[in-house]
């Protein structure tokens, strides 16, 4: 915990509070997505804090992107696996 500068958790929580009216205006389905994005930033608090950025939300956005990239990678891997499985099954049919 810093002595003068608020902790990164507190800074992110404050940003989330500031975004409340933005969130409220979104559709219910989009609100859930936004919550997921913000939650994913919390998984990289140490890195966001270590960035030493004047505006830590910039680093938090990067953390969200990182989680998105991971999901994309995992989904691609699953799609590849499923495609291979499908090809194998089609091979059996032939």
């Amino acid at each position: 915990m810093g002595r003068t500068v608020p902790t990164i958790t507190r800074q992110l929580n404050e940003t989330e509070t500031m975004l409340q009216s933005f969130r409220r205006t979104l559709r219910r389905t989009d609100q859930t997505l936004l919550d997921g994005l913000l939650a994913s930033a919390h998984r990289h608090l140490a890195a966001v804090s270590a960035s030493g950025a004047l505006l830590p939300f910039e680093a938090a956005l990067l953390a969200m992107l990182l989680e998105q990239a991971r999901q994309v990678e995992q989904l691609s891997r699953q799609v590849t696996m499923l495609e291979e499985e499908l090809a194998r099954l089609r091979g059996h049919e032939d």
């Binding site: 915990m1 810093g2 002595r3 003068t4 500068v5 902790t7 919550d35 997921g36 939650a39 994913s40 919390h42 998984r43 990289h44 608090l45 140490a46 804090s49 270590a50 030493g52 950025a53 004047l54 989680e67 991971r70 999901q71 995992q74």
Partner: protein, 705 residues
Amino acid sequence: MKIESTGWLMDIYTRPGGELICWLLGEDGRRWLLRMDFPVTFYAAGRAADLRQAWRFLSGQARCSRATRRDLMEGERTVLAVTVDLPGRLHSIYQRLAQAFPQLDYYDADLPLSVRFAAQSGVSLLVRCRFETDGQQLLGLQPLESAWEMQAALPPLRVMEIDCGDDPFLHPPREIAVCCGRRRYHFALQPLRAFLVNLQALLNIYDPDVILTRFGDTWLFPFLNERAPLFNPNRDEQMKVEFRRERSLFAYGQVLYRGAQALLFGRWHIDRCNALLFGEIGLAGALELARVSGLGVQEAVRKSPGAGITALQMQTALREGVLVPAVKQQAETTRTLTSLIRYDKGGMVYQPLVGVHHDVAELDFASMYPAIMVRYNISPETLNQSDAPPGLIPRTLQPLLVKRLALKQCLRALDRRDSRVGDLKGRQTALKWLLVVCFGYLGYKNARFGRVESHEAVTAISRELLLQAKESAEEMGFTVLHMYVDSLFVKREGARREEDFLSLVEEIQAKTGIGVTLEGVYRWLVFLPARRDQRIPVANRYFGVFQDGSLKYRGIALRRHDTCLYVAETQLEILHCLARADDPCEQRETAWALAGRRIQRLQRGEVPADALQMAVKLSRDPQAFRRPSAAAQAARQFQAQGVTVRPGMRLFFWFTRQGVSIAPPPPEEMDWDRYARLVLRAAGELLDILRPAQKNRQFYLPLLR
């Protein structure tokens, strides 16, 4: 006639006349209260003209001389040395001088007497010494061991325990139980004269060195003082009991309450309910704390460990001829915003990967912050100097670190059932607390030898070391699950036994230069998410079972002080139930059934009221509460009963259908549903995460790697 003897210096204090009294306990069992000539000196520094005026001001009150002494930050200074022959008079002389010459800097003016004595005479409290006396006066004193002695000889203390019941404020006791050794006496409090005669007789016959009480500070001694002002429980009959007022303070981010204190002379009084650490460290730990810090036992157990570490730093300074400022003089230097943002941070916290993990090792840096201060020579006067000699803080901490490590090694070598384990644990914990607070005191604004830049240097190095540890682990194929300031949790496919992780321990030790211990390998470990959003990980909130079957849990209801016994027991039973399996998910249904049975017991009204007692720490004055929260209601009920309620106090109450009650309510009034909800929530806290694998997989998809 001169008598030479060996024994222990138990305490020192001054009588109202100002002379110094030493209480010694001889190895032959004889107790001595001896006067000693002990002139004390304090210093003033400033403009020469002011010092000359101050010298004239003090004529007839103290002996003055010109001297040169070293200030830690400013180097050599010409000072006015003021020597007072009667140590008890120093405080008033200093106060008068400081009032007349506020522009001067004062040094060594407000040191605890025992600390000054230890530094000046070389004899710390509670270490074995040889002394010479004529029966009235202490003529000579030499240490026979050091305060850092591992197996110090312990004085043969006589302990008297006085029990005034559970809460004498709410339920005034009718009788008082007094325990001397194996004998236990019950004295009726009324008629008071008979009680006082009995108690005085016991004090005379048994002549205890320690009086251990519950509510002695806040109730028993104030009560006796009010009703029987002539009753004197001191061994030194010339002294009266010293009463200090209660207070509420804000420290460590919370409101704390310190009850009134009643201190004795010639023997110690320890109130278990008012001694901050006594429950954890016991008498052996209290003696250790006093021995190394130099504070008297009564002070050491009642004050925060911060006072202990400050006393230890003062001793180092005095022994090395460094001046101890009466008021801290260094202000924080100006700096840029970028520098503030970059360095004003705490330890590294790496959010955990939420969920169940198997075969996880926990690695801890041993006394990380103090070890950093010693290894990297971090002290206010050595900042930004790469080749400076060891600073005051590292020199103070070095022997403390060595002794704690030795005590820990000693403990590890002993069987758990060994009778020495309790005392060793108490001593080790006492030293641990001194080491824990030494880092905080480096950045504390009122610390004599503190400097915020040094404080930041320690956290910056700790973050770097933890990152190095992470990199080492990843290079060796481990997955880092969680890092928390000075510990990390890792796992690797195929690594199950402790030996599988030892190479990592050695690698981190070699890379960082700080000792690392393997806390153990968990058979399984569960990292819990935040309550508000299951997708958000929370640091330091987990539970798990080690390979030897022992449990470890952090951040759950069971660890909280405001959780009632029944709820805590439920969580503990659930944890034991989960610990029976190699995978906690297998026991989920059984554990829910267990929780169900506990709720049914509540609904049948079978749970005793004691197990449902809630506790809350009052965060503010009762009148300042806006909403009628449980704490506010309980506080007002206590006030209605005539009990003084102060912020920081811990209040106990029960939930009833009408709100809360500070007395155990009858079963028909108890709010059973509310307690059932608490049990349900506590069970859910542990079991919700153990959902079937498929559900977890979807929910925590981004976390799977």
